[in-house]
């Protein structure tokens, strides 16, 4: 077993070697520009791009003409949100999202607020869910878009897409979902779930970085977008720029593998996730799973280890590549806004670790990870004044701290 062990598949995934094999010819002999209509180099590239488009569409239950290539989910989210806002400005100026969305949704929304739009940021409950009644009440005849993610990137909570989609359809507003974390993990079906726009990123699903797509519904209703980048009029005029053919080919193959292997892969990975989580929670008193224990991504576990601080824990488990909800690892000292939105106190947010497993995770790695975390949390607790106080029966919430 090689260390460090990668348990951060929600940050990015390695390219599947089969994806790489698929991509290789397009770097060299099949290097054509998919927009070159006058020769075989262009035709070969275009055929490969269309095959990939079809593969991605099949993963979503969409038609291939509904897939627009982008540089990734951030661009897809920006295009969906700003593109709808500009196109439907006459209909209304109101958009709805939730506080736990990724920055690639929140920040375009905040930008729109500076441009005369109104945005409702829905709160979430302790598991990370929006209240559907509250969502329904927030939709007015001026609402042009609801954007709610398929799965949360930090805690893995799944939004009920079909219910949200049906509600939006009934109310006559468009529904966008950022499905970056969900693709290849749970079933996505833009028809059954009434999704109008959907963002994906290849590198979260064993494809290459720097490529993604936006699904844009063509019928019932036909969704129109104002392009956010002008140029050669590629992608039906909605996204100009020479196509990243190698990346797109990789994304197509990655989507095909996700579609054909998801059922067996997720059964295996979720069993490993459960094994990891069970061991951690059993061995470490007061450790808690964050988010929704049921409706969540099958490969992700977000666990808080009270009385130890996240960054020091990550430092102690350097054989494991994981993410922390503690922002001590970044320049700001604010812990995760997602965990705080779920109502976690700063202390629990500071001590949280996100474990995300994937296609190449083994049982041996999971057991090693559990052993290392358990050992290190115990060591740090022996060093922790908070743990000592709790052992003495002190209620930490009643202590008068000297904040700094």
């Amino acid at each position: 077993m090689k260390t460090p062990i990668y348990l951060d598949y929600s940050a990015t995934t390695p390219c599947d070697p089969r994806v790489v094999q698929h991509m290789l010819p397009f770097f060299t002999e099949a290097f054509g520009n998919a927009a070159s209509r006058s020769h075989a180099f262009g035709w070969t590239a275009e055929a490969a791009v269309e095959e990939a488009r079809s593969q991605v569409a099949q993963l979503l239950g969409a038609h291939q003409k509904e897939i627009l290539w982008t540089s990734g989910s951030t661009e897809a989210n920006n295009l969906a949100i700003k593109g709808v806002a500009a196109m439907y400005r006459q209909k209304g100026n109101h958009l709805i999202t939730a506080v736990t969305e990724h920055k690639a949704v929140l920040d375009p929304m905040k930008y729109l607020e500076t441009q005369g739009y109104e945005v409702t940021f829905l709160p979430v409950d302790g598991k990370g869910h929006v209240d559907l009644a509250q969502l329904a009440a927030a939709i007015t005849d001026r609402t042009i878009l609801v954007s709610l993610m398929a799965a949360n990137n930090e805690v893995g909570t799944l939004h009920p897409l079909a219910e949200i989609g049906a509600l939006c359809k009934q109310k006559g507003t468009l529904f966008h979902t950022d499905a970056t974390q969900a693709a290849g993990k749970i079933t996505l079906d833009v028809e059954a779930q009434h999704v109008d726009l959907l963002s994906l990123s290849a590198h979260k699903m064993y494809g290459p970085k720097g490529v993604g797509c936006l699904y844009v519904r063509r019928k019932n209703p036909r969704v129109r977008l104002t392009s956010q980048m002008d140029g050669g009029g590629h992608e039906r005029g909605m996204r100009s720029g020479t196509l990243n053919v190698t990346g797109i080919v990789g994304m197509g193959e990655a989507a095909r593998l996700c579609r054909t292997e998801m059922a067996t892969e997720m059964a295996r990975v979720s069993a490993l996730r459960d094994r990891l989580e069970r061991r951690l929670l059993a061995a470490l008193p007061d450790a808690v799973q964050n988010g929704d224990p049921k409706n969540r991504l099958p490969h992700l576990a977000n666990v808080s280890f009270p009385y130890v601080e996240g960054e020091s824990l990550i430092m102690g488990i350097k054989e494991l590549a994981v993410s922390s909800g503690s922002a001590c690892t970044s320049a700001s000292l604010e812990p995760s806004y997602v965990l705080k939105s779920l109502g976690l106190g700063d202390e629990l947010a500071h001590s949280s670790i996100r474990f995300s497993l994937g296609r190449f995770t083994t049982e041996q790695e999971v057991d090693f990870a559990a052993d290392r975390v358990i050992t290190e949390v115990k060591r740090l607790r022996e060093m922790s004044p908070l743990w000592e106080m709790v052992q003495e029966g002190v209620d930490l919430s009643k202590v008068k701290w000297t904040a700094h």
């Binding site: 009385y307 130890v308 601080e309 960054e311 020091s312 430092m315 102690g316 503690s326 001590c328 690892t329 320049a331 000292l333 812990p335 106190g345 700063d346 202390e347 500071h350 022996e382 060093m383 922790s384 004044p385 908070l386 743990w387 000592e388 930490l396 701290w401 000297t402 904040a403 700094h404």
Partner: protein, 136 residues
């Protein structure tokens, strides 16, 4: 984030982790920081009759730099006088551990913990000597 070798060493082999009896009149205890800020330090000193710190212990909830700052502080405290201990500045800790700017607050916290422990010990001693003076 890249840690200096000294921070890593203190984090992996922290010196003087533990607790002294906080009810002992010769023990001063300082607890500084807050869990919601991501660090809490508890630093304790035992002082003999001549004003020399004969023992120091710490427990820290916080990042590696916070643990290293408090571990280093206990090393410096042991064997020194209370008066000298009061002169320890956070900048000395920053320098010794090569702390980056975002971790300077860890050294500030360690300095505060030293001062709080000394203050606690002073108050305990004053309470005792006040009693003695009343009698005299």
């Amino acid at each position: 984030m890249a840690y200096s070798d000294k921070v890593l060493d203190h984090y992996q082999n922290p010196r003087n982790v533990g607790a002294l009896d906080k009810n002992d009149p010769n023990v001063g205890t300082g607890v500084v920081g807050a869990p919601e800020c991501g660090d809490v330090m508890k630093l304790q000193i035992r002082v003999d009759d001549s004003g020399k710190i004969v023992d120091a212990k710490f427990k820290t909830y916080g990042c590696g730099s916070a643990i290293a700052s408090s571990s280093l502080a206990t090393e410096w405290l042991k064997g020194t006088s209370v008066d000298a201990a009061e002169q320890i500045k956070n900048t000395q800790i920053v320098e010794e551990l090569s702390l980056p700017p975002v971790k300077i607050h860890c050294s500030v916290l360690a300095e505060d913990a030293i001062k709080a422990a000394i203050e606690d010990w002073r108050q305990k001693r004053a309470a005792r000597t006040d009693g003695a003076e009343v009698k005299a």
